[in-house]
């Protein structure tokens, strides 16, 4: 009969080596071997998955695969192009004057009284299977008025035994637009949309008043013991939107609805491609707003319900999030055309084929970069970004500054995909400050001098491994209005080198000259005191100190003393709101590919100090503002481009920002991943991805053969080494004991 210990040992060996499918370091279950699953990671649990609230790219990675707004971005074409998703076509606005007469598309904005977007959705689009749609034999919702007893054994949506589905209707889009105004949903875009959608402000106010009345009533009933949080947890409030009018949204028929804007706003169509405008059925909201479900953390903020190619199967944000193919997905074809070069890159191999190509997407939580990177190299993640720590292992820069994969990565068949992100990281001046603000020639020269001294080419090389493009204006590449080459340079900071055909930053001598003309020769004012500028930032972590030191060192070249004031992000925001700063660092990611989304950061009416807007520099130039008002309502025409040029030139001269840089993202993909093209605007990209699961399995086996030898050697050494100790103990025990 075998010794019990040997059984335990045998079980241990079995578990370690066979539960991973013969590869002991395989983190996945044996049942997943060779399956059509895409593996990736996330480094922070998402905060919100409710499309009324979610406003962050790491959340869109999940919900954009599930929810379907009316429009989407073409996956391959550049510049970015909107195409229908659930809509039959991209809506073209109809403009009306005050007398409801139809105006031509090029009518001047001041004549436009209403802009009507009519959206017609495709028929036959079905929702994923979900318990909210389950009905009893009388056609009533099966899971309403749930009690704790009803939910015995239910922890997630997949635990419900019965589900149902139904067709997508215009009402679902209308309901979601109303949800954006619901004070309980805290939608971050309400403040923007209420400026445009007719009656949205009034509707939001009415809902807020209704909510307050309900709370007041409940408070009155409960008396001094009233605890709002406890009360609303047990009895969640569901506001009845039908009680209040919203003239800005009209239902035409079951498949058609209209959104009516108070003014011309050409950028509105971009919002129709964002998850905020996804359909949400009322019965789903009512299902989730049940006390016992909320107590189990089963909410719409965690378990989305959509019509998209995937549905959520597992939501455990502290470990993994799993999306699986939506059985009811109508099917969508892979694009048949792209931009030049896509064919050669193999991006059109699947043209016309039905999507999605993968059955499951497994997102694993990996907070730390080192294990994430190592698991990518072992083939356990299909894609990866590159951190500074792993950059040298992954990429080399050629003499021309072109990023290439190292031999090690090439041997593994890994592909590098780079793309300039539609973002700007900048340094801003407080234009209300007595020293660095103001609009006189001296003040402009002071800011221009600092702009020259802060050498962003050097910054990008040192701190970003070359992953960035020095900015000439707030407009990043890929956005209408971005100008390449000589005509695009900032002439106040750069000159054009005709031989090298590239911009060259002006020398430090030029910066010193400008500084002297600004009244600070050698970095000292007229009374001989050194120019001291405070620098506010919220940079923490190990990388912050060298970056701050670099800024200090660069300005020291001009004789300017930069006084660092790092604080936590809250204090930083407080300073921004109060205007208690001189120089600060911040960034902006585009919501949509239009210059308006960058220029509005510098419009006087958006001043942070005066109006709590997004213009943190508090820049205000009447001419720039005037041009902005003209430009924002124009289509992308040569006239608009001319206005944009003028605006950029004003900004470059006034220099309210040191323009900083536009980051370039580097993505790595294994050889078994196909159809990968970076798309900074689209988030619903997982449906395009195809993988070769057999090849992946083969490579995983090849790359992860365990090496037991060192372990055996250590065990032998330990056993052999313990022999003298055992002998010694025996000898000592046979002698006398001396304390």
């Amino acid at each position: 009969m075998p010794h019990p210990l040997s059984r335990v040992l045998a079980l241990g060996i079995f578990l370690v080596f066979f539960t991973g499918g013969c590869i002991p370091n395989n983190p996945y279950r044996p049942s997943e071997r060779g399956k059509n699953i895409f593996y990736t990671s996330f480094d922070e649990p998402p905060k919100h998955l409710d499309p009324a609230r979610s406003y962050s790219s790491n959340e869109y990675d999940f919900i954009a695969q599930i929810y379907e707004p009316p429009l989407q971005y073409h996956y391959l074409k550049r510049p970015y192009e909107l195409i229908p998703l659930t809509a039959e076509s991209v809506p073209v606005p109809v403009y009306l004057d005050k007398n409801n007469n139809v105006l031509p598309p090029d009518a001047p904005p001041d004549r436009i009284h209403r802009a009507i977007y009519e959206i017609r959705i495709k028929r036959g689009i079905m929702y994923q299977n979900h318990p909210a749609f389950a009905k009893d034999k009388d056609g009533r919702p099966l899971y309403m008025d749930l009690t704790d007893d009803d939910l015995d054994g239910i922890e997630e949506i997949k635990d419900f035994p019965f589900t149902g589905t139904r067709e997508l209707r215009a009402d679902d889009y209308i309901y979601q637009i109303m949800r954006l105004a619901d004070p309980l949903n805290h939608s971050p875009i309400l403040s923007i949309l209420e400026k445009y959608i007719l009656g949205l402000r009034e509707f939001a106010d009415a809902l807020k008043k209704e909510l307050e009345e309900i709370r007041k009533e409940r408070r009155k009933r409960a008396g001094a013991a009233y605890n709002q949080l406890l009360d609303e947890r047990r009895n969640p409030i569901v506001l009845d939107y039908r009680k209040f009018p919203l003239p800005g949204v009209e239902k035409v028929d079951d498949y058609t609805f209209r959104i009516i804007l108070k003014t011309k706003y050409p950028q509105f169509v971009y919002w129709l491609a964002m998850p905020f405008f996804s359909p949400v059925p009322e019965e789903v909201v009512r299902f989730y707003k049940q006390g016992p479900l909320e107590e189990r953390n089963i909410t719409i903020d965690r378990f989305p319900v959509g019509t998209g190619p995937f549905r959520m199967e597992t939501y455990n944000p502290n470990m993994e999030i799993v999306l699986v193919r939506n059985e009811n997905f109508r099917g969508e074809r892979y694009p048949e055309e792209g931009e030049p070069g896509d064919m050669e890159k193999g991006l059109l191999e699947d043209a016309g084929k039905e999507m999605p190509f993968i059955d499951r997407i497994v997102f694993k939580l990996e907070k730390e970069a080192i294990p994430r990177w190592n698991k990518f190299l072992q083939g356990y993640y299909d894609s990866s970004g590159i951190t500074s720590d792993s950059f040298d292992q992954a990429v080399t820069l050629s003499a021309e500054g072109k990023a290439e994969l190292t031999d090690f990565m090439k041997e593994k068949g890994i592909r590098l995909v780079t793309a300039v992100r539609p973002s700007t990281y900048y340094m801003g001046f407080n234009m209300l400050d007595d020293v660095v603000g103001g609009y006189t020639d001296e003040k402009k020269k002071l800011r221009q001098a600092i702009s020259i001294a802060l050498d962003y080419e050097e910054f990008i090389d040192i701190f970003n491994n070359g992953r960035g493009i020095p900015a000439m204006s707030p407009i990043p590449p890929g956005i209408f209005g971005y100008l390449k080459g000589k005509e695009g340079i900032n002439p106040f900071v750069y000159t054009w080198d005709e031989k090298k055909k590239k911009p060259v930053r002006k020398g430090i001598e030029e910066a010193r000259r400008l500084l002297a003309e600004a009244g600070y020769p050698g970095g000292r004012d007229r009374s001989g005191r050194p120019l001291v500028i405070t620098f506010d930032n919220a940079w923490t972590g190990v990388d912050a100190k060298p970056i701050i030191n670099w800024f200090i060192k660069r300005l020291k070249l001009l004789g300017i003393q930069l006084e660092n004031r790092t604080t936590d992000y809250n204090r930083f925001q407080e300073k921004m709101l109060k205007g208690n700063f001189q120089l600060f660092s911040w960034g902006w990611n585009a919501d949509y590919p239009d210059p308006e989304n960058f220029f509005f950061l510098l419009v006087g009416a958006n001043s942070k100090v005066k109006f709590m807007g997004e213009n943190a520099a508090n820049y205000s130039n009447p001419e720039f503002d005037r041009l902005f008002r003209l430009m924002e309502n124009m289509d992308n025409t040569p006239e608009r481009l001319e206005i944009i040029r003028k605006m950029i030139r004003i900004l470059q001269e006034d220099a309210p920002w040191v323009w900083g840089y536009h980051p370039v993202s580097f993505g790595l993909f294994h050889q078994w991943v196909r159809n990968t093209k970076p798309n900074a605007m689209a988030n619903n990209t997982m449906k395009y991805i195809r993988i070769d699961a057999k090849l992946r399995e083969m490579k995983r086996m090849e790359w992860n053969r365990p090496n037991f030898m060192p372990l055996i050697v250590v065990l032998v050494v330990l056993v052999v080494g313990s022999i003298p100790a055992v002998i010694s103990v025996r000898r000592r025990l046979s002698g006398s004991f001396t304390p």
């Binding site: 009233y226 080192i370 294990p371 001396t738």
Partner: protein
């Protein structure tokens, strides 16, 4: 003993409420509800109205301790402190500020992965530390003792992070014997537990062995050991029967008090091995300025600490008949 335990539990109430009061004071001294709202609502398009709306929904529009706008009892009940502290008494931790999840359920869920790592690490760690400490004490004054202590000091001087990264690199990446990180449920969790447990045990061995060696040596030099050996008892009997038993008081002081905290898990270990435990729960909440979670975890921590102390006192009576709890 029962009376003693009841008395200690009653003493605990003012301590726990005091801790809760202190947490509230400190939190709101550092953060205003506006700060919390800004942090939680995000960076883009946040208006003052949105901030006020969030505060109203989460009950942070109330005064912290005294509501002068109310009358009578409501002056106390309609405050942040009262509304958020009272449910804690029946372990209703409420919902998180950041993403509105039920904290109690989250703690229940995340406690098990933490325990699955910390419990084996704790038990194997104590056994390994005691064994090696006794071995070194057995060879006191010899080269084995000297080099053992030197090795312990070296092991103590190395950062935990080094053990983790080094262990992941050597055992996970180079030898490919274990998954580098991750976690799974049920039987599949075993292969994810081995590596962190090995690393956890090794990383604490330096401190543990040195501590227990000192305890044993102190006991070995006492008169009763000399008496025992003078009686002609063997060295193993003296060490295991007499020295070990008497050394249990400091050992228990060190060990029992940490048992309740096994639920808390280990922050670094859980972050690097992607273990969905409680270790990172509190730190994430502090970073996100989620007062609801911070308050709950501090409250739970203070209770666990008191439980640990009571357990330690009880354990003394088990190993030392001279001690009576009255």
């Amino acid at each position: 003993m029962l009376a003693y335990i009841i008395r200690r539990v009653l003493y605990a109430f003012p301590i726990i409420m005091g801790v809760n009061l202190l947490t509230t004071v400190l939190f709101f001294y550092v953060n205003t509800p506006d700060d919390m709202a800004r942090k939680i609502l995000g960076e883009k398009n946040i208006t003052q109205e949105a901030i006020e709306n969030w505060k109203r929904d989460r009950g942070y529009d109330l005064p912290v301790f005294i509501n002068t706008e109310e009358k009578g009892l409501a002056m106390i009940t309609q405050t942040i402190f009262f509304q958020k502290s009272l449910p804690l008494l029946w372990f209703d931790f409420g919902r998180s500020d950041r993403n509105n999840i039920d904290i109690g359920r989250e703690i229940q869920k995340r406690m098990w992965p933490s325990l699955s790592i910390s419990l084996p690490m704790f038990i194997i760690g104590i056994m390994a530390n005691l064994t090696f400490a006794m071995l070194i004490a057995f060879y006191r004054g010899t080269y084995l003792d000297i080099w053992g202590v030197v090795l312990c000091v070296i092991m103590m001087s190395i950062s935990t992070l080094f053990y983790i990264i080094g262990g992941q690199y050597l055992l996970g990446k180079v030898l490919k014997l274990f998954p580098i990180s991750g976690y799974d449920t049920g039987i599949y969790s075993i292969k994810f537990i081995i590596l962190p447990v090995i690393i956890g045990v090794i990383s604490t061995m330096g401190v543990g062995i040195r501590f227990y060696r000192t305890v044993f040596l102190e006991e070995i030099n006492k008169d009763y050991i000399r008496t025992a050996s003078a009686k002609g008892l063997s060295e193993t009997r003296v060490l295991f029967k007499h020295a070990l038993k008497n050394a249990m008081i400091p050992v228990l002081t060190n060990v029992v008090v940490s048992i309740p905290f096994l639920f808390y898990g280990s922050l670094i270990m859980e972050a690097f091995f992607a273990i969905p435990g409680l270790g990172s729960f509190t730190i994430d909440a502090i970073q996100a300025q989620d007062f609801a979670i911070v308050r709950s975890m501090v409250y739970l921590g203070s209770i666990l600490y008191i439980v640990g102390l009571i357990l330690t006192d009880i354990s003394y009576t088990l190993v030392d008949p001279r001690i009576r709890l009255e």
